[in-house]
């Protein structure tokens, strides 16, 4: 694999996480527990959609086939999406929304920290631009983890349930394949082994504060590095890509 090709794939992965998680958060519009939180979730959805745009524009340039960033989002098939399985998990209830966000933002925060110092100027620039908002996402989610974990018996039970259900999707966040290894050697990609221990500390501390039990690291779901997803992704894409696919000649 050429370095450009590896970098193209790396950008797709980053962009796919952003676009899929952003989509899930956007689904929450008019569905939050109260209006202020509705607006906060829309804000996070906007942040993710915005950074997806940056990653896909870069990916499209690296690919060099004349496709646009939007082409990569709206005309790519399920099996060519590389977002982590965690990002596509549904908004089962508000606890799932928060736990998913917490687990991912805790990862994202250290990932972006690392990419900021990376040798690819464009990626470093995107990371620097988005790190601040990610810190806010993490603070927002952590705050909810603690409030709901320590809230009522019902809120604690719901949070624990969501945490147990989503935990098996966290192992995948730290998988590294050829793309990572090649770019790591060039000083471009993040070292997910290092990030893993930082993430573990962050998560452990918040779960303790939140009065939630950390699930054991048993069986971990995997597949997204190879474009293999849960059944949920196909539905997300069916909805997201509907207009562009139904009217391939149209521009909007």
């Amino acid at each position: 694999m050429t370095q450009t090709n590896a970098l193209y794939h790396y950008c797709l992965r980053l962009g796919d996480d952003a676009v899929v998680l952003g989509h899930r958060l956007a689904e929450m519009c008019s569905r939050a527990p109260f209006l202020e939180e509705d607006l906060a979730l829309a804000n996070i959805a906007l942040d993710y959609t915005g950074r997806a745009q940056l990653y896909f524009e870069y990916a499209a340039e690296l690919e060099g086939k004349g496709r646009t960033g939007d082409d990569l989002v709206y005309r790519r098939a399920e099996r060519e999406f590389y977002s982590h399985l965690l990002c596509e998990q549904p908004n089962t209830d508000f606890a799932y929304v928060i736990v998913r966000q917490f687990l991912f933002s805790a990862f994202d925060r250290f990932l972006l920290d690392d990419l900021c110092a990376g040798k690819d100027a464009r990626l470093a620039e995107i990371a620097a631009k988005t790190l601040k908002e990610t810190r806010y996402h993490l603070a927002h989610a952590s705050d909810w983890m603690v409030r709901l974990g320590r809230g009522t018996a019902e809120s604690n039970a719901r949070m624990q349930h969501a945490l147990d259900a989503l935990w098996p999707y966290t192992g995948e966040l730290f998988e590294m394949d050829d793309v990572d290894l090649q770019l790591l050697e060039q000083g471009i990609a993040a070292d997910l082994h290092t990030i893993r221990s930082l993430w573990q500390t962050e998560v452990r501390q918040t779960l303790q504060r939140a009065n939630l039990k950390q699930p054991p690291d048993g069986y971990m779901q995997t597949g997204s590095r190879k474009g293999i997803h849960s059944e949920h992704l196909g539905h997300i894409l069916a909805e997201m890509q509907y207009l562009v696919r139904a009217y391939p000649e149209a521009s909007w």
Partner: protein, 300 residues
């Protein structure tokens, strides 16, 4: 010098001074505003649903971001307005309860469905466009907190109208299918948008008092005419047709004349029998109920 509380209120109104929450005010004035502002707040919030219906199907990342930001603004307008209503002595919980039990209303236009992507264009262009005309007037309404909320809101509304018009213009100039979708959306939203101003003031019970108290400063028909005049021209610019066979420009008055509106339909829809009334309230109740455990856990 005014001596009674009624005198103080009347004098302030006469001198065009804003009435503030601690000022004396007649009970009917307070009730009128409470009803109007909470209805306005509910409209912002319920209005998030038809547009929210298309967020997940927006056809580009840019379109998705613009729509998300727009709907987020509407939620923000809901917040300002709930706060303005709260200064009159009603809590947000009470207002939500009134909405969900049907005691309080919201703008009937949101009882129509957003069927295609062109509807997102039509809503921004026509529904926000009509709202602006009304809200510009309300910037000078006599109740201070309401007027100030309107000033903030109007700043954001013109962006809403522009993004909707941009979608319509793009689709009207697009493929034949897109053009047809745009015209179809205009056909369906035209009359509901014109009805947003309400029936002629002559028929309206509340209007007379609202004029006296300077809550309202222009008649429903005058506001509607303003909207028609600017919108007809915008329609022609992008190559769409106003769906009214009787539309004609009256050179003497300088205004467009249009067919009478179907007020029976308006009354039917506002009283509950529209395409989406039940769906909108069900949605609101469902997610409010699903969020109960969260609100209980944080007492918010």
């Amino acid at each position: 010098m005014p001596t009674t509380t009624t005198d103080i209120f009347t004098e302030k109104i006469e001198r065009d001074l804003a009435i503030e929450p601690r000022d004396p005010m007649p009970e009917e004035y307070r009730r009128h505003l409470m009803r109007q502002i909470s209805q306005h707040a509910h409209s912002e919030v319920i209005g998030m649903q038809p547009e929210g219906n298309w967020i997940t199907r927006a056809p580009s990342l840019r379109a998705k971001m613009i729509l998300l930001a727009k709907i987020q603004d509407e939620g923000g307008h809901g917040l300002y307005l709930y706060s303005a209503a709260e200064t009159l002595g009603i809590s947000r919980e009470e207002m939500i309860e009134q909405l969900q039990t049907g005691k309080a209303r919201y703008s009937s236009v949101f009882n129509y469905p957003a069927l295609t992507w062109a509807d997102i264009g039509a809503i921004g262009w026509l529904v926000d466009g009509a709202a602006i005309v009304n809200q510009v007037m309300l910037q000078r309404t006599s109740y201070g907190p309401y007027a100030r909320a309107m000033v903030r809101i109007c700043k954001e509304e013109s962006f809403h109208q522009r993004q909707g018009y941009e979608i319509m213009a793009k689709m009207a100039a697009g493929t034949p299918e897109q053009h047809e979708m745009a015209q179809d959306a205009l056909n369906r939203w035209w009359a509901p948008a014109l009805m947003m101003f309400g029936p002629s003031d002559a028929e309206s019970l509340h209007s007379k008092a609202a004029f006296q108290w300077k809550i309202k400063r222009e008649s429903n028909d005058a506001l509607r005419q303003k909207f028609i005049d600017k919108t007809v021209q915008q329609t022609e610019v992008i190559g769409l047709k106003v769906p009214d066979p009787n539309l004609r420009f009256n050179a003497e008055t300088g205004h467009y004349e249009t067919s009478p509106l179907n007020w029976d339909e308006f009354h039917r829809v506002i009283n509950g029998d529209g395409p989406c009334n039940r769906q909108r309230l069900e949605h609101h109740r469902k997610f409010h109920e699903e969020g109960r455990w969260v609100r209980e856990a944080c007492q918010c």
